[in-house]
């Protein structure tokens, strides 16, 4: 079966969709690119819990997304 090499590499569909979306946004021409970048800007904290206590925090922002896109590409 050809096709989903990305799943074999341990990428979920959500990550796959995110990576595709990021690349499409990066391919936009300038006035639209800035608009898309503005629209998709975000920053939030994701707190992981263990036994009802805060265990660790992940900051979700554009850098994390870019990092994910780049590391998965290599």
């Amino acid at each position: 079966m050809a096709g989903q090499y990305w799943r074999a590499a341990g990428i979920t569909y959500l990550q796959y969709a995110n990576i595709c979306g990021t690349h499409v946004r990066n391919c936009l021409k300038e006035p639209f690119k800035a608009v898309a970048k503005n629209r998709e800007g975000f920053i939030s904290n994701t707190v992981l819990y263990k036994n009802g206590k805060e265990a660790s925090t992940i900051v979700l922002n554009a850098e994390l997304l870019q990092k994910e896109v780049l590391t998965k590409k290599n």
Partner: protein, 307 residues
């Protein structure tokens, strides 16, 4: 005497018989109530202006969940696990994901309370600790962690503060899924927006990959490219993302509507309290002036008569 003025009777301390301190206290109370009313009025205005855009977005995001819902709506319960003896295609995690959408800030009526009540009811029925909960927003964390600490996975803070963004949603969901890769099913719980005055808790069932495979006879009419099982897995994750996305916007609209109503009531209450307080203050002031005048006049007449 109405309830508002009864509230402040206790303030009159017996040591201050000339009412000076009571008068000052009353004035301070009056100022506080007026300031709070101004605040709630502002919040009301902010919420009502935000409601319009939130409502529009909730409407616009609706159609995106219709497609997967139409296809996967055929599977609405995880009964297939109990009725079949067939081994699941992938190893079962035996976990159900519960994603509750709550808000970061309060003062929005029963929006969060309704969600938490629904989730606690679900957790109560779940004896084997199969359900794992995640929330967006701070308001859902404390009540659930207090009662079910071991079943709480992840919470988002400042999630979609300015506006929700799809990459953020995908990253967030991916964090959840990476903890439970083969979820049996997922449930998104949110407030469905009806109109500015009404909203109610709604839940969206998302069958997991194994569940879809056990129900594969329901999907024979669909043609898929190449690997059918992989397509099903993608579809399940996609359905999760799109349901979550729709839920977020529905909940945001409900939150704004609830906040608008709650803050409107609060400023109305504040107004009536400040009115009652103003009346009480003026009466006390008048009484003080009158009694002082009487004292002066009677004192003067006493001096006059002694002459």
């Amino acid at each position: 005497m109405n309830s508002a003025s009864k509230l402040f009777v206790a303030l009159a301390s017996p040591a201050n018989q000339r009412n000076m301190a009571t008068l000052k206290d009353l004035k301070i109370r009056l100022g506080t109530v007026k300031t709070i009313s101004k605040l709630t009025k502002t919040l009301h205005m902010v919420a009502s202006s935000k409601l319009r855009s939130a409502e529009k977005k909730a409407e616009e995001s609706g159609p995106f969940s219709v497609g997967p819902q139409k296809i996967l709506g055929a599977v609405t319960s995880s009964d297939a696990f109990n009725t079949t003896t067939e081994a699941p295609v992938e190893e079962r995690s035996g976990k159900q994901l519960l994603i509750a959408i709550t808000t970061d800030t309060g003062m929005c009526g029963p929006v969060n309370h309704q969600i938490i009540k629904t989730i606690k009811a679900l957790l109560k029925d779940d004896g084997k600790q199969e359900i794992l909960v995640s929330t967006t927003g701070l308001k859902g964390v404390a009540p659930i962690v207090a009662d079910y600490p071991n079943q709480f996975l992840i919470s988002g803070r400042d999630f979609g503060k300015a506006d929700y963004s799809f990459p953020e949603v995908l990253l967030f969901l991916n964090e959840i899924i990476s903890k439970v890769p083969n979820y049996d099913s997922a449930l998104v719980v949110y407030n469905k927006f009806k109109n500015a005055l009404s909203y109610n808790v709604d839940r969206q069932f998302i069958p997991g990959f194994n569940l879809l495979e056990l129900n594969r006879d329901k999907f024979y009419e669909y043609m898929t490219s190449e690997d059918r099982a992989a397509t099903m897995k993608d579809l399940s994750e996609f359905h999760l993302a799109s349901s979550f996305w729709t839920g977020l916007y529905q909940n945001r609209a409900s939150e704004m509507a609830a906040r608008m109503v709650a803050m409107d009531n609060a400023s109305k209450n504040g107004e009536s309290i400040s009115q009652a307080l103003g009346l009480q203050y003026n009466r006390a002031r008048q009484a003080m002036i009158t009694s002082e005048l009487i004292e002066i006049v009677s004192g003067a007449s006493a001096i006059e008569s002694s002459d």
